[in-house]
Amino acid sequence: MTSIISARGLTKRYGRTVAVDHIDLDVPPGRIVGLIGPNGAGKTSALKAILGLATFDGELSVMGKDPSRERAALMEDVCFIADVAVLPRWIRVWQLIDITEQIHRGFSREKCLEYLTHTKITPDQKVKQLSKGMVAQLHLALVMSINARLLVLDEPTLGLDILYRKQFYTSLLNDYFDEQRTILITTHQVEEVEHILTDLIFIQDGKIALEASMDEVERRYVELMVRPEMAEKARGLKPMYERELFGRHIFLYDSTDREQLASLGEIHTPSVADLFVATMKGGQS
């Protein structure tokens, strides 16, 4: 299976700071990958390199193309929403559709208009007259009407209210995603995307801290909740991370015997957010 994105030693420097530090990465087709990391971890720098918006060192191939030299050709098969509300403010909705149709071979005007009928957006409106949520809806409608193989979303719902955010991911999953397509998402709102992801990549200080499929995560990681008197025993099994909640001790384990853990207390699969915190804190100590 050929990778959609393949990176070897991908590095991005800004002067002396290293934003992305020798990353190796393979994203196969038909996946929804969450690229998750704290502020300044190098997520956006990595995405910009993948999209041909920045120079980089190392090897990077996106669908067999070098993004730094072949951005225009690459964009035939790649769509991205980099941040909310980057559509030009002066443009009218119909003009935006016209231009996209003429520049993008894979764009379907019918699909786009169909998506827009589910919103309050009308063709004659200017982007600056739309609310932030509507701009995100419009951009998503445009992008979903393009027959692309890779969709990159960089904080696509930042600053939107909960209704728009839910709707955004619902339409993405129901109307857009299939086995041929790959979606790469970065976001801070891990809780919202964790149910749609198939793969997780944690990035910290420009390095990959964790790369695993969600199935793997379920198999490997266990969260254990115990009463205080069992805490010492639980600590003896070398958890990655420990926290306290309402007088209970919660431990997170990587590849530890489930039956042994179950004998100490309640076990379940950790949420991506908890796993993220554990990985980031663990990586620091």
């Binding site: 951005r71 050709a73 790649v78 929403i81 559509l87 016209d98 231009i99 003429q102 520049i103």
Partner: protein, 315 residues
Amino acid sequence: MNRLLALIKREYWENKGALRTTPLVIGGIYIAFLLMSIFTTTHIDSDLYTFREAVRIMGEQSPEHRGMIMYQVMLGSSVLFTVVMSFVIFFYLLGSLYDDRKDRSILFWKSLPASDTLTIASKLITAMVVAPLTFFVVMILTHIIMSVIGSLMVLSADGNPWTLFISVSSPLKAWAMIATSWLAQSIWALPMYGWLLLVSAFAPRVPLLFATLPPLIFAILQTWIEFLRTFTLKNNIVGVIGNWMFNSPAILTAEVHEGHGEIALGVPLTKEFDHAVTLANILDRLFSLQMLAGLIIAAVFLTGALWLRHRATDN
């Protein structure tokens, strides 16, 4: 090709105010002035006595002379369009690779499969062709409306507008001359257009300062150094730029010959080129050494703009 057209359409939509409304306003000003002068005349002189006199005196002139006057009036009326258009193009180019970086919409434009070369080409074509075209169309409309108003006035003064000025004038010749001079001006101005695109792609903020300060500072330094030796205006960069502007193939000013003025190409201060409005004189400028140097400078600036645009994102 389709993509280039789409990008040019984008430029037109984004700059509708500058490219369409501005020439309409100029045309409107011309027509308003004409109507105001008519109202003033009829208000002071309700019998149209002075106007009848003017029609009569004009009728006494030879048809050739009347034709000449009409030709000069038409060429002369293009000057305001030319000057305003130059400002419009100047500011359009200055913002063309800057504004979308500032409001971050570059992230949308770069998500489309249109190359940076195509993007810059669309901006250059808008400056060189689209802007002159819209100004030209509006100018022709203005000429037509003004001659209709003029004809009505002549009719009301019992004159015959057809014999008096319509049949003797050669509007096609005047329009062709103006169009040629504007297109020639587009090529002549390439080094400046290239510079403006370069600055627009580069400036972190206030592109106007980045466009005007370097030549100004350079000129001041040069003036100072030159001053220490022997100062000659022509070698000074402001002198060179000024000379380049004066030699423009656009119809800009009048030249005074033995007491009477005649519309001229550029500003007839130097004798380097002939300033009379003829096709040969316009072509003379385009096939000159100055033009060749200008094209080389333009190529350097445009390559720089493309290089910078390739690296540009929202920050």
